[in-house]
Every structure is written in structure tokens, then in C-alpha cells.
């Protein structure tokens, strides 16, 4: 439910700006990406590798589901207590010598960072990989301001040197294989020449040599944060290569950009998340390095520490009770690695900084579902549910996808005009702010108050309406099914159909339609339902069957309760159990462990 307050919407709901928008609808973008066989082979190889690794290390822990439950509850608590936790966090960071800045949107955050860098009189910075700075387009902005930003994470470096775009949350260069990386390095990295081979160790060594000078000389670093601890003001960066430690330790000034949802209430909560995150993301028991710091430490690390707290649409996500759990995301990318849609289409097809299943919900939530650029993303899923199965904080991605589809339909039907208007005004305000910061002319934006009034029913509307009428009545179903012999007669000579018009032509693009049956079950049953004896005689002849053990009191249907570990919609199921007062079945919520899905056998 997205509620827009008409009184003073401007101060209450504001959507995000920056690199969150699709330029091409997902189906079209995916179609062109699917043509890139090299990319698909690279992603297929990498995602299958990581699935197996994740499965092994998750399977090692007897209390994985308990950790997921704790992680999910902690993040729920963060959402519920966000105002007080943010104030507590700010107070603690400040008390320890840090300086806290607040940014409503991408443009504000970019301006704050730019001003801080300028104040240091430098035109080069080093960067730790960060989704928040990717989201706000910090590098592009700094470039426009004459400040060169050096990405120091290996994958980010590959993307930056290759003039490419990230395609994965954890491994932005996942779409490149070792040969392509070797080519980029030998072309763009001074001093690498012909000796460079495609061995990952050799490529990593080349990056080490190239970046070492930057680490030693650069005085300002920019990072993101994986976690911020409200009760202590502690910040955490989780990494592998040591580039994070370099950036967090050697420069004189550190600027950290952190989304407001990254908080944890207590320091002890890290005992949950440092277990959940590495096993879910790189499939390791623990990532090589995790750094934690609280403000400024005398004689150890940066002398000046700035923290930029970023909203950029997060508060809008929080305002939707059915979708707010998307803010639990800890950017592990487990959902990407198991998603068949991601595996085939690749990360670029999602357009936004956040690809994969989490991106398919988070991007449109941050920008508002009314953003036409992103309204194809909630449909970029077959709802197979693997994303929920592996999510370490139990974000119910399939249910949120369905919720966002509902919101999209309502927007198109004119039931969300206020949100749509708010979305437009956010975008135009962001454009103006960006223009003000860069001194450029703002791109012409649609007038914020102009809401599309064209309410011609879409093909989908007609299909759904019609199907709804038929499918909500047995009589009408029976009537409609009278047409089956007609279809059968028409298609039988051709062995089926190969082409359908319009939207449903998407079906026949990939599949044949079989010759329909001569009559429906319903219509057959009316005539033959009572022929039980003949059917049994025909099937069994004189064979006698062994007795089957009857369930004395039938156990409750599985439809009434859904496994917690794999079945999404678990909250709905808890309600079902509580309200229906079903006694049985409660014990089975954990009875079938993950091996039954094949997940941990990978």
C-alpha cells in the first residue's frame, strides 16, 4: 500500500534519483543481452561456481535458519526504530570525532562529497567498492567536477578501466572472463605488457602493483559501509582484497557514504551478520578482511572522518508496509547467483545499480513504481522462489514482486495518481539539483502535475478482465469450453498453432500450442462421472490391490502451512495458522530441511 498525503507530499514522500532507472524496458534489454553468448557463458560459469560454494558453507552450519531468523528480526527492528536509531548513531559518531552529514538524494550526497574533497585541495581520491556511491553516480559526478576517482576493488577496477558498467552487486565484472580481463589490463594498465597472462593470480598481482602507488600517495578516500552500529557509532566494511583496509587506514581523510537502512541497533548484532553475509555472498566461512572503526582513532588511521547518511528513496520504501522489508538487504547477492532470470539475462538487463531479484524490487521501490522506466522490473521474474530460499535476511522477494505488480496495475488504472505526481516532482527536483551542482542546464522534465489521463484499457486489462469473468463461474467455464471442439477442428490439421497475435504472441514466439482436447473435463464429467465401476474394472481387471494405510485424521494440507526455509509468504502462513487454529502441521515448518529442495546438494 502506498499512501500519499495530499496535504504536504513534498516533505513526506520523496523517491530516489541517480543510477536507479532502466533506459530500456527489461524484456527488450534482456533480449539484446541474451544475444551475448560470451557474457552468458561467463555468468553461467560464475553463478554455478558460487551456488556450489554457498551450498557447502551454509550446509556446515546447524543453526543457519536460526541466524536467518535473527537477521530478519534485527532488520525489522531497525526499520521500526529508525528515527531514534539514526539520532543515536549520529550522536555516537559525533562524540567520537566523526562529522555527520545528511543527504536527501543523490545530488545532495554528490555535492557534499565534492565539497569535502575540494576542501582538502586534492583532485584524486581512492575508493572502496560501494553500492551507495554507485547508486548516486558519485564517480561520474566527481569526474565532471575535475576529480579523478580510482576504484580499488579488483572487479570495480576492471569495470572502470574497461569503460563498462557493473553487472553484479558483489562482483561487478562477473560478465567478463579472465581473457577479457587480461585484455583490458594490458590495454589500460601502464607497465603490464606482454608478460601478462590470463591466470587470475597474475591479474591480481598486476592490480596490486598498479594500485599500490595510489594507496601510498592519495590523501582522501571514499567508502561505503556494510553496517553502522547505533549504540556505538561503529562502522563496518567487509571485503576480501585489502583494498578496503588500505583506503580506510592510510589516507588522512575518510568519507563514508551510507544508506540510512544500514544500521544495526547493537554491536552484538554483528555476530549474526558477520556469519550471514560472507557465506551468502562469496560462499566463504568468512571473508578475508572486515574493518570496524568508531569515529577517529588517535594515532591510528584517518585524522578526519565524515559520514554522509543517504536517504534517496529509502524513506519511501519504508512507507510501504508490504514492501519495506526490501530495506533489510545486506547486498550479499545470493539472490542474483541463484536466479535463473539473472543467469540468462545478465545484470545489465536490469538497468539500475541493483540487478537481479533484489534489484527487481528495490529499484522500482526507490524510484516509485510510477516511474515508467522501472515498471517492467517487477515482471522480470518467473516467481520460482529461489531468491527467498537463499536470502540471509528472509526478504520475501516473490511476494513483494507480486505486490509491486499490483501497484503497477493500479498506477496504470489511475488509482495512484498522487504517487505518480510525487514521483515526477522528485525526478524533476533531482534534475534541478544535479544541474545546480554541475552548472549545467537541467534536462527538460515532464511537468510534475501533469498526470496521464489516458485510461484506455490495455491488452492485458482486457485479457485479465475477460479471464476473470469466465474463471469466476463454473457455468461460464463450461460455456467457454464448448468452443474446444471448434479449436480442435481448426488446429488438428496443422498439429497445433505456431502463431498468436498481439501480446500473447510472446507465447508462440517460443512455443507451439498443442491441439486442444475434444472436450473439457467438466463437460465430460457431466456425462461420465458416475461410471466409477466401469473405470475401476477397466483399469484393474482382476488385480487385487494391497491395502493402503489410511490417514486416520488426515494431516493438514501443505497448502495451509508453508515451509519457512523455502516457502515465501511465510508471514501470511503464520497468520493462516494462528487464525485457522489448525493444530497440526506446526512441527513441520522445519521438518523438511533444505536438502529436500536440492539447494544444499549443489
Amino acid at each position: 500500500m502506498t499512501v500519499v498525503d495530499l496535504g504536504m507530499p513534498g516533505t513526506r514522500i520523496a523517491y530516489g534519483s541517480g543510477n536507479l532507472y532502466e533506459e530500456t524496458p527489461f524484456p527488450e534489454h534482456a533480449r539484446s543481452e541474451l544475444g551475448n553468448q560470451q557474457m552468458r557463458a561467463n555468468i553461467g560459469h560464475a553463478t554455478h561456481t558460487i551456488r556450489a560454494k554457498r551450498g557447502r558453507v551454509v550446509g556446515e552450519l546447524p543453526d543457519w535458519q536460526d541466524l536467518r531468523d535473527a537477521g530478519s528480526a534485527i532488520k525489522q527492528e531497525v526499520g521500526a526504530r529508525l528515527p531514534e536509531l539514526l539520532e543515536q548513531f549520529e550522536a555516537n559518531v559525533t562524540a567520537r570525532g566523526g562529522i555527520v552529514h545528511w543527504a536527501r538524494n543523490a545530488a545532495e550526497a554528490n555535492r557534499i562529497v565534492t565539497d569535502l574533497v575540494r576542501a582538502k585541495g586534492v583532485d584524486e581520491i581512492i575508493k572502496v567498492k560501494s553500492m551507495a556511491t554507485q547508486e548516486i553516480g558519485l564517480n561520474e559526478h566527481l569526474e565532471g567536477q575535475g576529480i579523478k576517482s580510482h576504484e580499488t576493488d579488483l572487479a570495480e577496477l576492471i569495470v572502470q578501466l574497461g569503460d563498462d558498467k557493473p553487472s553484479h552487486i558483489l562482483v561487478p565484472a562477473i560478465h567478463k572472463n579472465r581473457d577479457e580481463i587480461r585484455e583490458i589490463f594490458s590495454r589500460r594498465m601502464p607497465g603490464t605488457g606482454k608478460t601478462l597472462t590470463n591466470e587470475p593470480a597474475v591479474l591480481a598481482e598486476a592490480a596490486r602493483t598498479y594500485l599500490r602507488e595510489k594507496f601510498l600517495d592519495t590523501t582522501v578516500a571514499v567508502s561505503g559501509a556494510n553496517f553502522g552500529i547505533a549504540e556505538s557509532g561503529t562502522l563496518t566494511v567487509v571485503e576480501s582484497e585489502g583494498n578496503g583496509r588500505m583506503c580506510l587506514t592510510l589516507p588522512k581523510t575518510l568519507i563514508t557514504v551510507m544508506g540510512i537502512e544500514k544500521l544495526l541497533p547493537r554491536f552484538a548484532d554483528l555476530e549474526v551478520f558477520t556469519q550471514l553475509l560472507p557465506r551468502s555472498s562469496t560462499g566463504e566461512r568468512m571473508n578475508p578482511y572486515t574493518s570496524m572503526w568508531t569515529g577517529v582513532a588517535e594515532g591510528d588511521g584517518p585524522e578526519e572522518f565524515h559520514l554522509v547518511l543517504l536517504d534517496n528513496g529509502r524513506s519511501a520504501v519504508l512507507g510501504d508496509p508490504d514492501g519495506r522489508s526490501a530495506l533489510h538487504c545486506i547486498r550479499c547477492s545470493a539472490c542474483l547467483n541463484v536466479c535463473p532470470v539473472y543467469e540468462h539475462a545478465g545484470g545489465h538487463a536490469y538497468g539500475s545499480t541493483y540487478p537481479g531479484p533484489i534489484g527487481a524490487i528495490l529499484s522500482p521501490q526507490l524510484t516509485g513504481v510510477a516511474a515508467e522506466q522501472n515498471n517492467s522490473l517487477p515482471y522480470a521474474s518467473s516467481l520460482c522462489g529461489r531468491c527467498y530460499e537463499v536470502c540471509p535476511v528472509k526478504i520475501d522477494i516473490p511476494s513483494i514482486l507480486v505486490h509491486l505488480r499490483d501497484e503497477d496495475v493500479r498506477t496504470k488504472h489511475g488509482e495512484r495518481d498522487d504517487a505518480a505526481a510525487q514521483q515526477r516532482s522528485t525526478v524533476s527536483a533531482a534534475r534541478e539539483a544535479e544541474a545546480a551542482a554541475t552548472g549545467a542546464q537541467p534536462e527538460p522534465a515532464e511537468h510534475p502535475d501533469r498526470v496521464k489521463k489516458s485510461r484506455v484499457p490495455s491488452e492485458m486489462d482486457v485479457l485479465m478482465k475477460g479471464a476473470g469473468v469466465v474463471m469466476s463461474s463454473g457455468k461460464r467455464m463450461a460455456l467457454a469450453e464448448k468452443a474446444l471442439p471448434l479449436g480442435r477442428g481448426a488446429l488438428k490439421p496443422f498439429g497445433g498453432a505456431k502463431w498468436l497475435p498481439g501480446m500473447v504472441g510472446g507465447w508462440t514466439q517460443e512455443r507451439d500450442i498443442p491441439v486442444p482436447p475434444s472436450q473439457s473435463f467438466r463437460n465430460w464429467w457431466r456425462k461420465h462421472g458416475e461410471e466409477t465401476e466401469q473405470r475401476v474394472a477397466r483399469d484393474l481387471g482382476s488385480t487385487a490391490l494391497a491395502p493402503s494405510g489410511p490417514g486416520e485424521a488426515p494431516s493438514s494440507s501443505l497448502a495451509g502451512h508453508i515451509e519457512e526455509h523455502a516457502g515465501w509468504g511465510a508471514e501470511a502462513q503464520a497468520v493462516i495458522r494462528a487464525r485457522a487454529g489448525q493444530s497440526s502441521g506446526g512441527e513441520s515448518t522445519k521438518s523438511s530441511d533444505a536438502t529436500s529442495t536440492g539447494e544444499e546438494q549443489a
Partner: protein, 218 residues
């Protein structure tokens, strides 16, 4: 702290008020903060010897070299591992751990201040102690104590010899977190630096120390 620190502007104060107001509005349905279920393991059920074995196993799995020494045999092992390398030693490290054969330097430059990053880069190795180690994940926690030094010391030199006293070994992550303090910087180390950025395969050796020698002392 330097003089020309940029403070938040009024505009940013407005931003704070606006963001908090948006959040409060977003929470107008007053969602409840749930009780956090902590049914995961928080205390080990293993013998300490098993825990130490597990730590060794996990460290080796992630390509650290592991040695078991006593107080008596420790200096010899340290000397053998460091060889000719010029080694930085934190001020608070037990001097008896370092044999005379090792070429050591202290964290003091010509100007009396700490060594610069470039000076650290010219060194061969570092020896530190450690605060606590988690066996289940093969993770060593440094908490910036005097015998661990500031963070740069255990980062820039390419070879890290880390001493883990056996009584600082625990099995589980929650047990480890109980023994560190967020008042000082914390570095969690699990093996030598590594990357999974090329085809999601783990490769050891990037920016952090490429050799991690762990001495289990007890």
C-alpha cells in the same frame, strides 16, 4: 584533527530534519519492533583442544600457514619465518618473542613520528599478537592493542606473522565478539588477502599481506 575541517551546513541540517520527518511519516502505521530470536549457537560445546584443531584446519583451508609453538620454541620459529626480512614490531609486543637474529624496526620515523605508509611499504614483515580467534570461521581479531599496533602496521608489509595465544581461541563468532571492544579499531583477518572477482574463483594474494603465518602459542 586538522584545522580546515568542513562542518555540516545549515542546508544539511535541513536535510536531517526532512529525512527524519519522512521516516516518521513512513512509520505512521507504527510497526512493532520484534523480539529478536537468538536461538543460534552462542556458546561452544566442544573441548578446547577440538576448538584449536578446528582453528588450525580452517586457517590452513584459507591458505594461512599454521605452526604450534610453546613459549620456549616461539622465538626460534619467529626467527625462521622472518629470515632476513626487515620487520616492524609494535611497541607493546613481548620482546622475548623476537630473537636477536631478526632485523627489527620500531614505528618511529626520523622526525619522531610514526612511519609513513611509504616507509612501511619498504619493510618486509610485521609481527603482531592478536586479541581473539574464531575457530569455526578461521578468523583472527586484532583490536589495536599495543601488541598489535595501529592498523597500518599489519596491513602494508607483505608478510604478517601473527601470534595466537591458545587461551584466546574460541569456537564461535558470538564468543569472539564478546572479547573485542569497539572503542578501538577492529580488524578481522581470515587468511591472506584474496579475491573472488575473476570468475568467482578465490585467488589468494592481492593488497593485504600475501603471506599469513599464524603461530598457535600455548
Amino acid at each position: 584533527m586538522s584545522e580546515n575541517v568542513t562542518r555540516p551546513t545549515d542546508r544539511e541540517q535541513d536535510a536531517k530534519a526532512a529525512i527524519l520527518s519522512r521516516i516518521r511519516y513512513a512509520l505512521r502505521d507504527e510497526p512493532a519492533a520484534p523480539e529478536v530470536p537468538r536461538d543460534y549457537r552462542r556458546a561452544s560445546s566442544l573441548d578446547h583442544a577440538e576448538v584449536v584443531d578446528m582453528l588450525e584446519d580452517r586457517l590452513v583451508d584459507y591458505k594461512a600457514n599454521v605452526y604450534r609453538e610453546t613459549g620456549e620454541s616461539l622465538p626460534q620459529r619467529v626467527g625462521q619465518l622472518l629470515g632476513e626480512a626487515v620487520t616492524i614490531v609494535p611497541e607493546g609486543l613481548d620482546e622475548s618473542w623476537i630473537p636477536d637474529s631478526v632485523r627489527t624496526v620500531r614505528d618511529r620515523g626520523d622526525d619522531g613520528g610514526p612511519l609513513t605508509a611509504r616507509e612501511l611499504d619498504g619493510l618486509g614483515a610485521v609481527v603482531t599478537s592478536s586479541t581473539v580467534s574464531c575457530a569455526e570461521t578461521g578468523t583472527i581479531f586484532l583490536n589495536s592493542h599495543p601488541d598489535e599496533g595501529r592498523r597500518a602496521l599489519s596491513l602494508v608489509p607483505d608478510h604478517h606473522v601473527c601470534v595466537v595465544p591458545l587461551d584466546s581461541v574460541v569456537e564461535l563468532i558470538p564468543e569472539a565478539f564478546e572479547r573485542v571492544s569497539h572503542d578501538r579499531p577492529i580488524t578481522m583477518i581470515s587468511g591472506p588477502s584474496a579475491t573472488s572477482d575473476i570468475e568467482l574463483e578465490r585467488v589468494e594474494g592481492v593488497h593485504g599481506p600475501r603471506t599469513l603465518d599464524v603461530i598457535l602459542l600455548g
